[in-house]
C-alpha cells in the first residue's frame, strides 16, 4: 500500500493511487447470493441481482427489515462470501482480493473479538495485521481508545466488557488502519443513546475527512440522520435507491416552525392557508423525541452531577430542552449546545 495511514484528526485523505479517474468505491453488478447447505442444495436466496454504486466521500445506507440481505451484501463486499452470480468491485479490485483490505475498516454485526485480550492488546494485534510499526501502533491505539471513550478500561479483558463497550472496541479495531472505506454493520446496536449520538457524529466527521462509509441498519433514525444516500432492501431485492433528502421529502406538505405565537395568531394563519386553497392538517406544539430528552438529561447531569428532581407534572414540553421547536435533529442539538 502506498498510503501512509494518517491520524483520524487529519485532513481529508487524498490518495492519488486510489481508483484513478473514478469516484466509485464499491460497485456491485447483478450481485446475487444463494446460501446452500453442505450438499449444495439451495436454502435461501438472500440477495437477488443487486446493482448499487457507492461513491467516494459519501455515507451510503443499506436499509431493510431483518433478514433482507444487508449483512449478506456487506460480507460479499468484504469477500467473506463468494457471489453466486454477479460481481463486486471494491476500489476497482475483485472483492476477494486481500490487498484491498488495507484500505478497509469493518465493524461486524456483533463484535467478534478475542475475549481473552484486553483493549490495548486487541488493537495492537489488529494493528500488527496491518503491518504497522510499533510506534505507529502505539500512537493509533492511544488515539482510538480515546476516540471510543475506553480510556478507563483499556487494560481489562474484553470478556468483562458490557455489550456497548465491546462494540466500541469493535469500532476502534475497524479504524486502526485509518481506512478509506468503512463498512459498518448496524453500528448503533448495543450503544446507549449517547453512544449512538457519538457514533453518528463520528460517522459524519469521518465523512468530512473524505472517507467513504457504507452502513446498514434497520434503525431508521440512524439512517435518516447520517446517510447521504440509501438503498432499501426487502427479501434480497433492491426496492428503493436515492438521496435521503429527496426520498423523505413529502412534496405536498409544508411545515412552518415559529415561536411565541398566540392562539389568535394561529387561527389567523389557518385562515390564510384556507384562503389560498390549502388544508390545515394540524397546528400543534411539537414534542421532542425520546432521544433528545435522554441526551439533554445526560448532558445536564454531566454539567451538574447529583440526583435530578423529578416531578409528576414534568412533561417534555416543560423540560429545558423541550423548549426547542426545531424538528430536525441537527437543529435540536445546536440549540442545546447554546442553552
Amino acid at each position: 500500500m502506498a498510503t501512509e495511514p494518517i491520524g483520524l484528526a487529519d485532513a481529508p485523505t487524498a490518495d492519488p493511487a486510489a481508483s484513478p479517474g473514478s469516484d466509485v468505491v464499491i460497485e456491485t453488478r447483478n450481485l446475487s447470493k444463494i446460501y446452500r447447505d453442505f450438499w449444495g442444495r439451495r436454502k435461501v436466496a438472500a440477495l437477488k441481482s443487486l446493482d448499487i454504486e457507492v461513491r467516494k466521500g459519501e455515507i451510503f445506507g443499506l436499509l431493510g427489515p431483518n433478514g433482507s440481505g444487508k449483512s449478506t451484501t456487506i460480507k460479499l463486499i468484504l469477500g467473506l462470501l463468494f457471489p453466486t452470480s454477479g460481481r463486486v468491485l471494491v476500489f476497482d479490485q475483485d472483492a476477494t482480493e486481500t490487498r484491498k483490505n488495507e484500505r478497509i475498516g469493518y465493524l461486524p454485526e456483533e463484535s467478534y473479538l478475542y475475549k481473552f485480550l484486553t483493549t490495548d492488546e486487541t488493537l495492537d494485534f489488529y494493528g500488527r495485521l496491518f503491518d504497522l510499526s510499533g510506534a505507529e501502533r502505539k500512537r493509533r491505539v492511544d488515539e482510538l481508545v480515546k476516540l471510543v471513550g475506553l480510556e478507563g478500561a483499556r487494560h481489562r479483558q474484553l470478556r468483562e466488557y458490557s455489550k456497548g463497550m465491546t462494540r466500541r472496541v469493535g469500532l476502534a479495531q475497524a479504524l486502526i488502519n485509518d481506512p478509506d472505506l468503512i463498512l459498518l454493520d448496524e453500528p448503533t446496536t448495543g450503544l446507549d443513546p449517547l453512544g449512538t449520538r457519538d457514533m453518528k457524529d463520528l460517522i459524519l466527521s469521518l465523512r468530512d475527512q473524505g472517507k467513504t462509509i457504507l452502513l446498514c441498519s434497520h434503525q431508521l433514525s440512524d439512517v435518516q440522520d447520517v446517510c447521504d444516500r440509501v438503498a432499501i432492501l426487502h427479501q434480497g431485492e433492491l426496492k428503493e435507491l436515492g438521496r435521503v433528502s429527496e426520498l423523505l421529502k413529502v412534496q405536498d406538505v409544508t411545515e412552518v416552525h415559529a415561536r411565541g405565537l398566540s392562539d389568535a395568531a394561529k387561527a389567523e394563519i389557518s385562515e390564510v392557508i384556507l384562503r389560498h386553497g390549502g388544508t390545515v392538517d394540524s397546528i400543534d406544539n411539537p414534542t421532542a423525541t425520546m432521544e433528545e430528552l435522554f441526551l439533554s438529561i445526560v448532558r445536564e447531569s454531566e454539567r451538574r452531577p447529583g440526583a435530578r428532581r423529578v416531578s409528576v407534572s414534568d412533561t417534555a414540553s416543560e423540560s429545558p430542552t423541550a423548549v426547542a421547536t426545531a424538528t430536525g435533529d441537527d437543529a435540536a442539538s445546536r440549540d442545546e449546545g447554546q442553552s
Binding site: M1, Y35, R36, G40, K75, L78, G79, L80, L81, F82, T96, T98, R99, N101, E102, I104, Y106, P108, E110, Y112, L113, Y114, F116, L117, F125, Y126, R128, L129, F130, D131, G170, Q173, N177
Partner: protein, 642 residues
C-alpha cells in the same frame, strides 16, 4: 539394538540413493508434493465447477494458484505471522495445556515405583519409559491444540475480523503452526528436564563395603552390600602415588560400576571406604561402523556370509519409498547375519574409515566393541565361549598384517576389545612390531579388521552393526536432548497435519483425520507386509474383506477361501483395491515409528546419529511444506462466512 541397513545411510545417500534413485527420499517428497497439488487442483476444480459452472470453476482455481505465487507468498509479512502465532499461543495456553506438564512431572515422581526394580538394565528401562511417555503425551496434546483452534475461530466468527484485514491465507496457516509449535516447545522443555532428572536420580543408589580382604602387595578384594537388588565385588590396586588415595573399581552389574575409595587415617590404617555414584549406565556411545564383506571357506570374497537359517531377520521396509510402491523392490529390507565357518579361510572383513590418531586419542589403543552371534554344529564345551581372532590389515598394502588377537565370544552381550597402538605382525616376509597408525592404517585413515572363528565346525555370525570402533563417548544429556529433538519433530509434523485438516474440517473431524494419519503412519509397516504377501500370492488370510468373511464363517486362515469362484474373485478384487490404496496412503504419510525409534538409541546407550536426525528434520520440513500448501489452498478457496 541391531541397526537396519538404512540406518547406515548418510544424509546424502538417503536423500538421493544414487544407485537406486527410486528409493530416494527426495523423489518421494517431490512426487508427494506434485501429486497432492495436482489432486488438490482437480478436486477444487470439480467442486467449484459444480458450484459455478466449468468456466468459472477453472477461473477460480487458476486465480488461487496465481494469487499464491503473485501476491500471497510475496505479500506474506513476518509481523502478521508473528501476531497470529502469538494469538494462537495465547489461546492454547489459556486452555491450560501447561497443566499437563505439571501432571507429567508429578507422574514421574511416582513412576519409579512401577518400573521393575529387578531389571538387569535399569537405565534402558528408565530412558525408554520417559521417552515413550513424553512422545505419546506430546503427540496427543499436539493433536488437540492444533485441530480445534481454527474451526472454533470460524464457528464463533472471530475469523471475520482477521480475514477482513490484509491477512494472507499463508499467514493464517503459518501463524497457527508456529504458535502451536511454540506451545509444544514450551511443554516439551520442562518435560525433557524433568525426564533427565528422573533418569539420573532414579539410577542413583548406594552400597556399603561388607567384606574386604587384603590379598597381598597392597591389593584388596571385597564385596559391596546387596542394595537395589544387586551387589558388586571390587578390587583395589595399590596406587602408584604413595600419598594418593587408593582407588578401586567394582565389576559391571546392571550396566554400571562404582569407584571405591580407600580412606586412610593419620595413623596409616584404613579408616573407611567411600563408594562413588554409579557410572557407566548412562552412556552415549559414538560408534564408527565399517563396511563388511566376507570370504568363504576357500578364501574368496563374497558379499554375504553363510546363512545358517532363520538369521535373515525382518528389518522393515524402511525408506524404500516409491520403489516399493511401484513394485520394483518387493522385498522387505532385511537384516542379515552372515556366518563365518571356524577353522577355514572364511572371514569377515570390516573396513573402517576415518581412523586417525586425532580421532582415537586413547593411548591404550582403539576401543572396539563386538556383538557377535554364535552357531554351534557340535556341542563342545557349552560353558566356555567360542574362540575368535582379530587380525588388522592395511587395506592398500595387504602384505602388512598383524598377528591375530584371540578373544572369547560373549554371546548375547557386547564385548569390548582394544586394538593396541603397537602390535607384532608381518610386513611381507619380515616379522616386526607394527605401528597401528603408521603401518596398518592407510594415509587416508582406512583400516581393515578381519574376524575369524577359530573353533572347527562352529560358526560366528556378524553383520555391519555388530562390530564398531568407539572413538568417543558423547554426553548422555546431549543424547537425551537429541531424542527430545526427535519428539519435537514428530510434534511439529502432527501440528502441521492438524492445522491443515482444521482449515477445511470441523474440530472433532479434523482431530479424527489427523489421528487416522498418525495411526496409519504407525501401522505402515504392517500394511506393507500385507501388500507384500498379497503380491507374492502367499495367503495370510487375505485382506480386510476376506478376513471378515473368514471370521464370520469361522474359517481357518490357512485354508483356501471356501466361496464360489465369482465371489472369491470379487472379494479379492475389493481387498486388492483397499490394500493398494492403504499402501499408497501409508507410503505418503510420515513414518513416525522410524522417528520414535530414536528413543531406542538413547535407551541402548548409543549416540543418535546426526545424519538420522537430519533426515527426520528434512522429512518433517517436507511434510510441513505439504501441509502448509494444502492448508493454504483450502483456506483460500473457502467461503468463510458460509
Amino acid at each position: 539394538m541391531t541397526l537396519q541397513p538404512e540406518d547406515f545411510w548418510s544424509f546424502g545417500e538417503w536423500l538421493l540413493r544414487p544407485e537406486s534413485f527410486l528409493e530416494s527420499a527426495l523423489l518421494q517428497g517431490i512426487v508427494l508434493v506434485v501429486l497432492a497439488v495436482l489432486l488438490g487442483l482437480i478436486i477444487a476444480y470439480l467442486v467449484s465447477a459444480v458450484r459455478h459452472g466449468p468456466g468459472e470453476g477453472f477461473y477460480a482455481v487458476a486465480r488461487s494458484v496465481r494469487d499464491l505465487v503473485r501476491s500471497d507468498l510475496p505479500g506474506t509479512s513476518s509481523r502478521r505471522i508473528f501476531a497470529l502465532a502469538k494469538l494462537a499461543y495465547q489461546e492454547a495456553l489459556r486452555r491450560r495445556v501447561l497443566v499437563v506438564v505439571g501432571l507429567f512431572v508429578v507422574g514421574l515422581l511416582f513412576a519409579g515405583w512401577y518400573l521393575d526394580p529387578r531389571s538387569s538394565d535399569p537405565a534402558r528401562l528408565y530412558i525408554s519409559f520417559v521417552l515413550t511417555a513424553t512422545n505419546y503425551l506430546i503427540l496427543l496434546l499436539a493433536l488437540f491444540i492444533s485441530t480445534f483452534s481454527l474451526p472454533a475461530d470460524i464457528k464463533n466468527r472471530t475469523i471475520y475480523t482477521i480475514v477482513t484485514k490484509p491477512v494472507r491465507a499463508t499467514e493464517i496457516v503459518l501463524g497457527r503452526m508456529l504458535g502451536f509449535v511454540a506451545v509444544g516447545t514450551l511443554m516439551l522443555v520442562p518435560m525433557g528436564i524433568a525426564s533427565y532428572f528422573f533418569v539420573t536420580r532414579g539410577l542413583r543408589h548406594d552400597h556399603e563395603v561388607v567384606e574386604i580382604d587384603e590379598v597381598g602387595d597392597g591389593r584388596f578384594e571385597g564385596k559391596l552390600s546387596f542394595d537395589q537388588f544387586h551387589d558388586h565385588s571390587f578390587t583395589i590396586e595399590p596406587s602408584a602415588d604413595p600419598d594418593g588415595p587408593e582407588l578401586g573399581l567394582t565389576d559391571t552389574v546392571r550396566g554400571h560400576r562404582h569407584v571405591v575409595r580407600q580412606i586412610r587415617g593419620d595413623d596409616g590404617n584404613v579408616e573407611r571406604y567411600v563408594i562413588g555414584e554409579p557410572y557407566g549406565a548412562l552412556r552415549a556411545r559414538v560408534p564408527v561402523y565399517g563396511s563388511l564383506v566376507f570370504t568363504d571357506r576357500a578364501g574368496n570374497l563374497t558379499d554375504e556370509g553363510i546363512d545358517v537359517g532363520n538369521e535373515k531377520a525382518r528389518g522393515g521396509y524402511g525408506a524404500a519409498g516409491i520403489a516399493r510402491l511401484v513394485g520394483v523392490t518387493r522385498e522387505a529390507q532385511r537384516l542379515d547375519y552372515g556366518y563365518v565357518e571356524g577353522g577355514t579361510l572364511g572371514s569377515a572383513i570390516y573396513t573402517f574409515n576415518g581412523v586417525t590418531p586425532r580421532r582415537f586419542t586413547d593411548e591404550e589403543g582403539i576401543p572396539m566393541e563386538m556383538a557377535l552371534r554364535a552357531f554351534r554344529t557340535i556341542k563342545g564345551d557349552i560353558v566356555s565361549g567360542l574362540n575368535g581372532s582379530i587380525t588388522l590389515r592395511n587395506p592398500d598394502k595387504p602384505q602388512i598384517e598383524s598377528n591375530p588377537l584371540t578373544f572369547v565370544v560373549q554371546e548375547y552381550d557386547v564385548s569390548e576389545e582394544r586394538l593396541p597402538r603397537e602390535i607384532e605382525g608381518t610386513d611381507g616376509e619380515v616379522t616386526r612390531k607394527l605401528s597401528l597408525f603408521d603401518d596398518l592404517v592407510t594415509d587416508d585413515g582406512r583400516l581393515e579388521v578381519i574376524i575369524r572363528c577359530i573353533d572347527r565346525q562352529q560358526y560366528l555370525g556378524m553383520t555391519t552393526s555388530a562390530v564398531y570402533l568407539r572413538p568417543a563417548e558423547s554426553s548422555f544429556a546431549w543424547n537425551l536432548t537429541k531424542s527430545y529433538l526427535s519428539i519435537w519433530l514428530q510434534m511439529v509434523m502432527v501440528i502441521a497435519f492438524g492445522v491443515m485438516f482444521s482449515t477445511f474440517l470441523s474440530g472433532p473431524v479434523a482431530m479424527v483425520a489427523t489421528f487416522a494419519c498418525v495411526l496409519l503412519g504407525f501401522t505402515a509397516e504392517q500394511i506393507y507386509d500385507i501388500r507384500y504377501y498379497m503380491d507374492r500370492g502367499e495367503s495370510m488370510g487375505g485382506g480386510p474383506v476376506e478376513s471378515l468373511v473368514r471370521l464370520l464363517r469361522q474359517d481357518s486362515m490357512t485354508t483356501e477361501l471356501d466361496v464360489d469362484q465369482v465371489a472369491g474373485k470379487v472379494i479379492q478384487g475389493v481387498d486388492a483395491v483397499i490394500i493398494y490404496s492403504l499402501d499408497a496412503v501409508a507410503t505418503s504419510l510420515p513414518n513416525l515409528p522410524r522417528m520414535l525409534s530414536t528413543a531406542e538409541y538413547a535407551a541402548s546407550g548409543f549416540d543418535i546419529f546426526g545424519a538420522l536426525l537430519a533426515r527426520h528434520a528434512v522429512a518433517t520440513f517436507g511434510y510441513v511444506l505439504l501441509a502448509f500448501l494444502i492448508g493454504y489452498f483450502f483456506l483460500k478457496t473457502r467461503e468463510i462466512a458460509a
